[in-house]
């Protein structure tokens, strides 16, 4: 059963559409094909997890757009949120 959603093909995060427990298999649709990864942490519903490794300093991509950058290396399956992402917007001007 699908328990996560990838919004845009460019995204390096997916969104949990069900509560996901650590070690659980995460399934999401990628252009009609179901892809799997393993959750490395508990993920609250509607929170994000990495669907690719995101090295420190690289952009976090959701909706096909940069929503911030990784402040540490983030592994596939890890929770992606305020503890490991910082906003870009301070650096715009």
């Amino acid at each position: 059963m699908l328990n996560a959603m990838r919004i845009d093909p460019a995204d390096n995060v997916v969104v949990a559409i069900e509560p996901i427990a650590k070690g659980e298999v995460v399934e999401f649709d990628a252009d009609g094909e179901v892809r799997q990864l393993t959750a490395l942490e508990d993920i609250t519903i509607y929170h994000k997890l990495a669907c690719r490794d995101i090295p420190q300093g690289e952009p976090v991509i959701k909706y096909g757009q940069h929503i911030g950058s990784a402040v540490t290396d983030i592994k596939t399956g890890q929770h992606v949120h305020v503890h490991n992402v910082e906003s870009h917007s301070e650096n715009l001007d």
């Binding site: 699908l2 959603m5 919004i7 969104v15 949990a16 559409i17 649709d29 609250t44 519903i45 509607y46 929170h47 994000k48 976090v60 959701k62 909706y63 757009q65 940069h66 929503i67 911030g68 992606v80 949120h81 305020v82 992402v85 910082e86 906003s87 870009h88 917007s89 715009l92």
Partner: protein, 387 residues
């Protein structure tokens, strides 16, 4: 695709056929309520403004009043004023006539001799207009005649996942068919304005997008508030939103992927067949919907994660949610369930097509849930306190 609507003498096309009883100020609002109750087909609203405003603030009120009278869903307008308010009858009439040549009557309460006489005269004007309106036959028009406003309110994480992308799909289809879609709610672009600005069709539009955001932030700083601070809110973060960019990206999805062709100030007249445009409105739903109605939108599409009852006196408001639990709980208020997108049961193209067809049907006369329940709440934006 086509819809059946009402052709107006100014060349625009309406999807409803109301007589508007327009209160020029708060002091005329109870009178217009009584008049509208007496005439089948008449609508009104509670105008809390119209007097004791500074110039820039009064202009917002004037633009909403003139825009409502000019909205093609309105057959004609009876303006009722008290007589001594700042929004004087001649100013209101002039503002309306700059936008449209539709039927227009005026009643000034202090001049005709009080409430009862004003009600008598206004009811007779309205009754006559409603009778004329009833003779009008609908004609077939292309979808390019539609201006659709987009709005989100009571958002939750499903709004960015499903409801707003589906509205974006509708917006892209309408633009492709030659129509116009309005992206609103400046406060909710903040953090994603640079992404939106990149989609501007011209350098002027690019600068205007950044300008309306800066202007909004400046206005809030005057009262000591900072939008970017504390945003996303603790509630947003608990819900899974990490950064302001992410929050705002969810909102601007309502504008689909089309280039932004123009930026309009609050309640200004929007050009039909103009593609995707932005209007500078607050995040507050009733005042944002009111601005788009004043701009000439014939239909508004509104996403809500938590569920919202918002309607409008002259424009049908179509509700859509991405939250299946909200749809189950609030089906009386919500027209379309977009949650199948999240669970992989329907594609964005399918749901976008369903919403487009629903908007077409609503344009042809199908009642929205908000219309069926008689909801007409609205508000007019303010720039500052009363003087």
């Amino acid at each position: 695709m086509t819809f059946y609507g009402y052709e107006r003498p100014d060349g625009r096309v309406g999807v409803r056929n109301y007589v508007l009883i327009l209160p020029a100020s708060v002091c005329a609002s109870d009178t217009t309520r009584i008049v509208a109750q007496q005439v089948n087909g008449a609508v009104t609203f509670n105008n809390q403004q119209g007097c004791s405003q500074v110039e820039s603030d009064q202009q917002l009120t004037m633009d909403v009043m003139a825009g409502y009278a000019a909205n093609p869903n309105v057959y004609g307008t009876v303006v009722v004023s008290l007589g001594c308010e700042n929004c004087q009858m001649d100013l209101v009439v002039k503002a309306i006539q700059e936008r449209t040549n539709k039927p227009l009557k005026q009643v000034i309460i202090q001049e005709v001799g009080g409430t009862l006489k004003a009600v008598d005269i206004a009811v007779r004007y309205a009754k006559e207009m409603a009778a004329e309106a009833s003779l009008l036959q609908k004609k077939e028009f292309p979808m390019s005649e539609l201006i659709v406003g987009t709005e989100c309110g009571g958002s939750d994480p499903t709004s960015g996942l499903a409801a707003n992308p589906v509205i974006g799909e509708l917006s892209d289809r309408l633009v492709k068919d030659g129509g116009c879609s309005i992206l609103s709610e400046t406060t909710e672009f903040i953090g994603a304005e640079h992404i939106l600005a990149k989609r501007a069709a011209t350098p002027e539009v690019h600068d205007r997008i950044l300008e309306i955001v800066r202007r909004y932030e400046k206005a809030l700083r005057l009262v000591g508030e900072e939008v970017r601070e504390g945003n996303p809110s603790p509630g947003n973060k608990a819900g899974g939103i990490t950064t302001l960019e992410e929050k705002s990206l969810g909102c601007i999805h309502k504008g689909g992927h089309s280039p932004v062709m123009a930026v309009y100030d609050y309640a200004k007249q929007v050009k039909a067949k103009g593609g995707l445009v932005i209007m500078d409105t607050p995040g507050n739903d009733p005042s944002s919907v009111a601005a788009m109605a004043a701009g000439g939108a014939q239909v508004v599409v509104f996403s809500s994660g938590r569920g919202s009852p918002t309607g409008n006196p002259i424009v049908p408001v179509v509700k859509i949610t991405g939250n299946k639990l909200t749809f189950a709980k609030m089906e009386d208020n919500i027209d379309l369930d977009a949650s199948p997108l999240i669970y992989g049961e329907k594609t964005l193209e399918e749901l976008g097509g369903e919403l487009y067809e629903l908007v077409r049907q609503v344009a042809c006369g199908r009642q929205t849930k908000a219309e069926a329940l008689g909801f007409t709440e609205m508000a007019i934006a303010r720039v500052c306190n009363y003087v």
